[in-house]
């Protein structure tokens, strides 16, 4: 049973001839209690997809398609209805916690603000809950630190504060946009594991946006790979890593340095990801793809079951899958 059903989600910026399509008819489901990884390089549309779910796009952005949440369509929902979902049932955390926190307010105020908006707690009970939340996200000496300001926290601690704020409303879905990209690897490890533990404790689902395949392999149950605004492959993490069925997924995996191939040439993908105003026709990946044939230059491949149950948008999914995992 899916908690969230996304169908043909499209996000565009601008109008007329200069209109850019950042997210192009993206469809996916998030099941109760699962962690879905959205992975891609810069410009793939992964972050825009996440924001489009809650219609949190910058000015000039437009969303279409369907985002089904508890029998409602968030794309067409009224502002009031949407506000009731945002931050309450669905919370979001971002890459740079320093700019997402208000620098002139102590963290107590910022957590309690969310508690006031989304729970019935008042007075002492509210403060107690705020302290409890800081404890929950593993901030030592929570009682004292409640009255400190964001700049007194390290990057990792700030991200914990952000998570505490996001959890204040006991959301059922957490949207995490590159939550560990700005952090060091030992701190990233702490934060990812914290998110997983909290997910189990609170029975949430998580959508995790990242550019790091390693983070996906470590934390996600299912994954969707994005390229030039579309999902090009989606399936369980174990299956995709074992046998990628899209040339881009395989190329991305081969680009990551591995122990077994020390000081050898990496099987890199030639060229760079396309800019939104210059997305190639047909399969957007074809200019960089070693499997590309005429059909790839002509027809956009549909995302459909191509290798077993696995959804792939690659005309040559069978040939790619036959090569097995490059990892």
């Amino acid at each position: 049973m899916s908690l969230l059903r996304v169908r043909d989600l499209t996000a565009t910026f601008g109008a007329g001839a200069s209109r850019l399509t950042a997210v192009n008819r993206v469809s996916f489901d998030v099941a109760q209690g699962e962690v879905l990884g959205l992975v891609g390089e810069s410009g793939s549309g992964k972050s825009v997809t996440l924001r489009a779910l809650l219609r949190l796009l910058p000015v000039g952005g437009a969303v279409s398609g369907r985002v089904e949440w508890e029998g409602r369509d968030l794309v067409t929902a009224g502002d009031r209805e949407l506000r009731a979902v945002r931050g309450r049932q669905i919370s979001m955390i971002f890459q740079e916690p320093m700019t997402s926190l208000n620098p002139v307010l102590p963290v107590r105020v910022q957590i309690e603000e969310n508690l006031r908006a989304h729970t019935g707690l008042r007075g002492r009970a509210r403060t107690a809950r705020a302290k409890e939340l800081l404890d929950l996200v593993g901030i030592p000496d929570a009682g004292r630190r409640l009255d400190e300001f964001p700049h007194q926290f390290s990057g990792g601690m700030r991200q914990r504060v952000m998570i505490a704020i996001a959890l204040a409303s006991e959301p059922r879905l957490l949207l995490a946009d590159e939550p560990t990209t700005a952090l060091d690897v030992t701190i990233q490890d702490q934060i990812l594991k914290l998110i997983l533990d909290l997910k189990d404790q609170l029975g949430m689902s998580v959508v995790l946006v990242t550019h790091d395949l390693g983070v996906v392999a470590e934390t996600c149950d299912r994954m969707a790979v994005m390229y030039a605004g579309r999902i090009v492959e989606t399936g369980s993490v174990t299956d995709v890593f074992a046998r990628p069925a899209h040339a881009y997924t395989a190329g991305l995996m081969a680009s990551v340095p591995r122990a077994s191939a020390a000081r050898s040439v990496l099987h890199s993908i030639e060229g760079t990801p396309p800019q939104l105003d210059r997305v190639p026709p047909g399969c957007a990946f074809h200019p960089r793809c070693r499997f590309a044939t005429d059909i790839c230059r002509r027809d956009v491949p549909a995302l459909e079951p191509r290798v077993g149950e696995r959804l792939s948008a690659c005309h040559h999914a069978d040939a790619v899958a036959a090569e097995g995992s490059p990892v």
């Binding site: 390089e41 810069s42 390290s154 990792g156 601690m157 060091d184 690897v185 030992t186 701190i187 990233q188 490890d189 702490q190 990812l192 594991k193 997983l196 533990d197 550019h211 790091d212 395949l213 390693g214 983070v215 392999a217 470590e218 934390t219 993490v237 174990t238 890593f241 190329g251 991305l252 995996m253 081969a254 680009s255 990551v256 340095p257 591995r258 122990a259 191939a261 020390a262 000081r263 040439v265 990496l266 099987h267 890199s268 993908i269 030639e270 760079t272 990801p273 960089r288 990892v327």
Partner: protein, 332 residues
């Protein structure tokens, strides 16, 4: 392979924190961020030495000290028998011709008002690398070497992608035909697929030009892939040095082990919920006593508080700075 090209001897670097007038009047002592706290290392001819660590470990400061962009506050750096720590003027220029640097940020490391041709020509003129008439041909050669498309010479940096700009940075460093390249986070600003292209290029150039490379990065997978030897840094000290494979297969310092545990593996089957290292980096202004890692170390005991461990041998070419000399720690 064994001849030492650069040797770093007990190098220290502090960055003073500016005090306000009031603080000065009150006689508050001058405080400083201790970026390098006695770093010793050797760079051998023809090798790639990886320097890895998290932010605040001093790896970028060390890279800048190596090419004399920063003055040392203690210790010295010796290049082929000569102490280069105090070089100025023409001597420094001559040193820099032989030891060059590539920078992290593809956007700020190239002068936006100069074309590729101007950037390369200037460097070659200052170092008198070629007669003026041969410079245009040499530029084509260099651009070809770093695989930039023909016709790139007269473009300016903003006309290139991030990966291409890093290639221009490499060409600039190579145009004076150095022996040592110091690369500071060369690919960390690039997309994964583009990273691989630049890494491949660096590997290829090193073979072709017999370069010695100091590769500074935070990405363990990358460092392991590219390096012959690896030094791990923590809070301005080197805590472990070994051949790449040895270090990654048999890490002896608890911090190295934590780093390896924390780095996400590409194999979903190897997942664990155990946290690799607890706590956070202590303040580089007030360093812990004894071992700098003891505040986060799962194995710390009394001695670690009072005595700083020295780098001691743990096998061929393998040194680690830890009071515990066990082959492998219990898995935490």
């Amino acid at each position: 392979m064994s001849e030492t090209v650069l040797s770093v001897e007990d190098v220290r670097k502090d960055f003073p924190i500016t005090r306000g007038v009031l603080e000065r009047l009150r006689g508050r002592p001058q405080r400083a961020v201790h970026a390098l706290n006695g770093v010793s290392l050797e760079v051998k001819r023809g090798e790639t030495l990886g320097i890895v660590g998290e932010s605040g470990c001093g790896k970028s400061t060390l890279a800048r000290c190596l090419v004399r962009l920063l003055d040392l506050d203690g210790g010295r750096i010796v290049h082929e028998g000569t102490d280069v720590s105090g070089l100025t003027g023409p001597d420094r220029r001559a040193f820099n011709r032989r030891v060059q640097m590539i920078f992290q940020d593809p956007y700020s490391s190239l002068n936006p008002r100069m074309s590729v041709r101007q950037i390369l020509t200037e460097a070659m003129r200052v170092h008198d690398m070629r007669p003026a008439a041969e410079i245009p041909a040499r530029i084509e050669e260099l651009l070809d070497l770093v695989r930039l498309p023909a016709g790139s010479a007269d473009k300016r940096p903003h006309e290139f992608s991030g990966g291409q700009r890093q290639r221009i940075g490499i060409a600039r460093a190579l145009c004076v035909e150095p022996e040592v390249l110091v690369a500071d986070e060369l690919v960390s600003a690039l997309d994964v697929s583009v990273q691989a292209q630049v890494v491949n290029l660096l590997l290829e150039l090193q073979e072709r030009l017999h370069l010695t490379v100091v590769f500074v990065a935070h990405d363990l997978r990358l460092v392991r892939h590219i390096s012959h030897r690896v030094a791990v840094m923590y809070l301005g000290k080197v805590v472990e040095v070994a051949e790449a494979e040895e270090l990654f297969e048999r890490p002896r310092h608890p911090y190295t082990q934590a780093l390896l545990h924390a780095a996400p593996s590409l194999d979903p089957a190897q997942r664990t919920r155990a946290v690799a290292a607890r706590g956070e980096l202590p303040s580089p202004i007030d360093l812990p006593s004894g071992c700098l890692f003891r505040t986060r170390c799962p194995h710390a005991f009394d001695r670690c508080v009072v005595e700083e461990p020295a780098l001691t041998p743990r096998g061929t070419g393998h040194v680690a700075a830890c009071h515990i000399d066990a082959p492998v720690f219990e898995a935490s």
